[in-house]
């Protein structure tokens, strides 16, 4: 197995508070890895550091052995690091179709065209159609995103990320707020991604984590607390105590 994404001694401080504290994390190519931890453990901050939304105070982020710590987020996307957001981040005045058509155009490298209409390239509509059908958005493809029901917007959130053709997909609580019945479907789509696509999942719901992930990393107070395969983490008494709120060993 080769390491695709790696952090080395990553630190992010906000004033005196270390949201990410000396995290050295390795994600193998094709991994289905989960990142768990109690509220405020620094999971989203870590994702922001990996995707370039935030700049680390210290440490490095490596993609396939290359230092990308200083790379702006849009260039990381071009290299295949794509994320979803815990709170929907969508283009509210666009329709799902327009959002996806733009995203697909960018993925195809034709989004800088200014003299040719969006969707002129046939590949765009074809790819959009597939994504819209996959995420059950085809019935609302021409409605403004701002007017969509929450569940639909959540689907679009994930669909937009997949439209970027990720090689490393970072899912920040992808099914937060999604009705019970539709959750599994989203995971089925993620599971159906090609084996070489790496998925790092942040999730609160332990059932989902243990169903989906093969390896689990536990983050507590900004530091990596435990790491291992699903079984050992599920049975780790220290992890249990963290989740049951019996105080953390770090105080």
């Amino acid at each position: 197995m080769t390491t695709v994404l790696e952090t080395r001694n990553l630190v992010k401080r906000f004033g005196g508070f270390a949201a990410t504290n000396d995290v050295s994390l390795k994600v193998e190519k094709g991994a289905r890895q989960a990142l768990i931890g109690p509220n405020g453990a620094g999971k989203t901050t870590l994702i922001n550091l990996l995707t370039g939304v935030l700049e680390p105070t210290a440490g490095t982020v490596m993609l396939e052995g290359e230092d990308i710590t200083k790379l702006p987020s849009h260039q990381r996307v071009r290299r295949g690091i794509v994320r979803t957001f815990q709170i929907n981040q969508l283009f509210s005045e666009l329709t799902p179709l327009q959002s996806l058509a733009l995203t697909v155009s960018n993925q195809l490298g034709i989004s800088a065209r200014f003299w040719q209409a969006l969707g002129r390239d046939e590949r765009v509509a074809a790819r959009c159609e597939a994504l819209l059908a996959q995420f059950h958005l085809d019935d609302v493809q021409d409605q403004k995103v701002a007017l969509l029901a929450y569940g639909k917007r959540r689907q679009l959130e994930i669909a937009t990320a997949l439209a970027c053709a990720p090689r490393v997909l970072l899912l920040d609580e992808p099914v937060a707020g999604v009705p019970e019945g539709e959750r599994q479907e989203i995971f089925d789509i993620v599971n159906a991604l090609p084996a070489e696509v790496t998925v790092l999942l942040i999730e609160h719901d332990m059932d989902l984590v243990f169903n989906f992930a093969r390896t689990v990393s536990v983050l507590v107070n900004g530091s990596l607390f435990a790491e291992g395969d699903v079984k050992s983490i599920a049975n780790d008494p220290r992890v249990k105590s963290v989740y049951l709120g019996e105080g953390t060993p770090h105080g």
């Binding site: 994320r83 155009s105 200014f114 509509a125 937009t160 970027c164």
Partner: protein, 316 residues
């Protein structure tokens, strides 16, 4: 409707667009000698407002100093005609290029920051240019640049006293810029601007270079504003401090608010509405017409543009 059909429908010409385009052409014939000067002025303002719509309506960059580019276009065209050559089209290109250059340089300042920061920065840039034009020798200071005589348009048409040539000239440029803008906003680049306006964070997360795109559209809008300014200087034969004045930036914003942002025609309709209101109100009450303008704007914004203009929804 399939995705392919639906996406193609976005770029298709709608009947009302063709009607409005035809109306623009007809306006030249309808204006006659009597109204061509007013028509010219409206066409220039419409172009100016169109340029603001590109950054405000599409990219979400709020600016209170858009007159900076209008003024640079006007002064450059006037200086060029006076000192280099009087050909209008060459002068127009030079004026446009000068404004585009300033746009590209100052775009760095508006790429980041909040709306408030952008308001202050754009206001500041325009104020600096205003005082430069006031202070410098070659711009004529407070007197402005007088006696700019233009050559024949296309070597054939003289700029007449009634403004027939001027109106035709400005109208053609307005239509060309409208067509260019329409084409651009329908492109992937154009859609990426709306995406950036709606959610900058996500725009970067799908791999768009937000800063570069904002810089590009700011430069484009500056160029079009420069065209409008150059047209004004060329068709009126002078450039004064007025072209850089704060009220220019504010007026053009008002026009866009009246006409609505984000659909290109808002600038055109807003410019017509604003100028007609100005004419009617100031004929009626020359001293206090801004009172009525102000009242209109307050009502417009409080009621909401859509509701205000759709009078059939008032009593529902």
């Amino acid at each position: 409707m399939s995705a392919a059909q639906s996406i193609a429908a976005d770029r298709r010409w709608r009947p009302w667009e063709l009607v409005l385009l035809a109306a623009l052409v007809i306006s030249w014939f309808a204006a006659g000698n009597e109204h061509s000067l007013l028509g010219n002025e409206i066409a220039i303002f419409a172009l100016f407002a169109l340029s603001l719509d590109l950054i405000l309506g599409y990219a979400g960059i709020i600016s209170l100093g858009h007159a900076a580019f209008f003024g640079v276009g006007a002064y450059t065209a006037a200086l060029f005609a006076k000192h280099v050559m009087p050909d209008p089209l060459v002068g127009l290109v030079v004026g446009t290029a000068a404004a585009a250059l300033l746009g590209a340089l100052s775009s760095v300042l508006v790429m980041r920051g909040s709306d408030l920061a952008r308001l202050m920065i754009t206001l500041g840039v325009a104020a600096i240019l205003y005082e430069l034009a006031n202070k410098l020798e070659f711009t004529g200071g407070a007197d402005g640049l007088q006696g700019v005589s233009m050559g024949l348009l296309l070597g054939r048409f003289e700029f007449d006293l009634y403004g027939r040539t001027a109106f035709a000239y400005s109208l053609v440029l307005l239509v060309i810029c409208l067509l260019i803008a329409r084409r651009i906003v329908a492109s992937p680049f154009g859609w990426s601007l709306r995406a950036i306006r709606d959610n900058r964070l996500r725009a970067a997360a799908i791999g768009l270079n937000v800063d570069l795109r904002l810089g590009a559209v700011y430069t484009l809008a500056a160029a079009m504003a420069g065209t409008a300014g150059a047209l004004l200087a060329q068709t009126t034969g002078f450039a004064s401090l007025d072209v850089l004045d704060f009220h220019r930036s504010a007026d053009v914003m008002l026009m866009l608010i009246i006409g609505g942002t984000g659909w290109l025609w808002g600038g055109v309709l807003g410019a017509i509405g604003f100028k007609l209101m100005h004419s009617v109100l100031s004929a009626w009450t020359p001293q206090y017409w801004t009172f009525w303008l102000g009242l209109f704007l307050v009502v417009l914004v409080m009621v909401g543009r859509d509701r205000f203009f759709k009078s059939w929804t008032w009593w529902k």
